[in-house]
């Protein structure tokens, strides 16, 4: 398996685990209080199913990650992140190296997967509020010939603004939408886990130099 892809998945798992209580606390405010627990369970299961020695290309690796998340996360983030990875897997047939344009493809396909599955749009207080601006920023930076790290920096800056924005709006999707206006003032856990995943990807790219 591509060592960069493996390192990225490992880093995502590590950062999700570090933020388990934080994500769960955010979800306790406006949801069912399990986002950190669910995401940690899902990514921990992923790490038991893949190994650096596996003879898998990038597409097959992402598929395996997606399938594992579908059956181990439990909450809505399972089918949503699962669809993101499966859609990214489908977009990467025959690609063997993780480059900036490939990462751009992964982010774009992930966003499409999440939007198609969850039917959420920007402003619904979901993952989309972080991922869509991040994706747009990444693709724009890429078009300006920025390096992979610079593209990720732009994506993360945009995702941070997106997470901040979720505090100002009421949820229109998921369990938090039952709270209506009472969800205003709280940061969306799904948008937050998107940001954490993007930061994990950046750390691995940065280490690679």
């Amino acid at each position: 398996m591509d060592s960069l892809v493996y390192a990225t998945i490992k880093k995502i798992t590590e950062k999700i685990e570090q933020n388990k209580d934080f994500l769960t606390d955010l979800d306790r405010e406006i949801g069912d209080g399990d986002h950190g627990i669910n995401m940690t369970r899902g990514f921990t299961a992923v790490l038991t199913k893949i190994s650096l020695d596996d003879d898998l290309d990038i597409s097959s690796t992402l598929k395996k990650v997606g399938m594992t998340l579908l059956s181990t996360v439990g909450g809505a983030s399972g089918p949503l992140y699962g669809s993101a990875f499966l859609k990214a897997s489908a977009a990467l047939k025959d690609i063997t190296t993780l480059t900036a344009p490939v990462l751009g493809k992964i982010l774009t396909a992930s966003l499409t997967g999440i939007k198609e599955r969850g039917k959420a749009v920007k402003g619904d207080k979901t993952m989309v509020d972080a991922l869509e601006p991040a994706c747009d920023a990444f693709v724009f930076a890429l078009s300006q010939n920025a390096s992979c790290l610079e593209c990720m920096d732009q994506a993360i800056a945009a995702a941070k603004l997106g997470v901040e924005y979720t505090k100002s709006i009421a949820a229109k999707k998921g369990r938090a939408s039952y709270l209506g206006a009472r969800s205003i003032g709280h940061q969306d856990p799904g948008a937050t886990s998107v940001l954490i995943i993007l930061e994990a990807i950046r750390e691995v790219i940065n280490r690679k130099g």
Binding site: D34, L70, S71, A76, G78, P79, R117
Partner: protein
């Protein structure tokens, strides 16, 4: 007969709804629970749901009833993951209330109603009297 799959975040809730639905159903009817995760945690698992769809179908199609949120998202994925294109076309998801929907679906499926009619019957449950 149309098969039924009961999807819930809770394994016990799914199994309980199945138990209740069989009270009113032909014992030959397939009513398959797909609740919780494999390790018993609360949540929904698209792969467990997909397996339940395969068990539930006898050729006349499957109606799925879920509790909320990811039970529907996971069921949509389970349908996408089916390799049998013909089976994909004969699975429907009802958004009816889980308990009442499961019972009315069990009754209609037991008398041999086709999938569309079992599905339509579940849509009427919100106007049913509990007494």
């Amino acid at each position: 007969m149309v098969g039924l799959v009961i999807v819930s975040h809770s394994r016990m809730l799914a199994e309980g709804v199945v138990e209740l639905a069989y009270e009113m159903a032909d014992k030959a009817l397939h009513i398959i629970p797909a609740g919780g995760l494999e390790d018993g945690s609360i949540g929904t698992d698209a792969l467990r749901i997909m397996e339940a769809l395969l068990v539930a179908d006898t050729g006349d199609g499957v109606l799925v009833l879920g509790d909320m949120g990811s039970s529907i998202l996971s069921t949509q994925i389970a349908i996408d993951l089916l390799e049998d294109e013909a089976l994909k076309q004969r699975v429907k998801i009802s958004h009816a209330s889980l308990v009442e929907g499961a019972i009315i679906a069990a009754i209609q499926a037991s008398i041999g109603d086709p999938l569309d009619e079992v599905f339509n019957a579940t849509l009427q449950v919100s106007s049913f009297s509990k007494l």
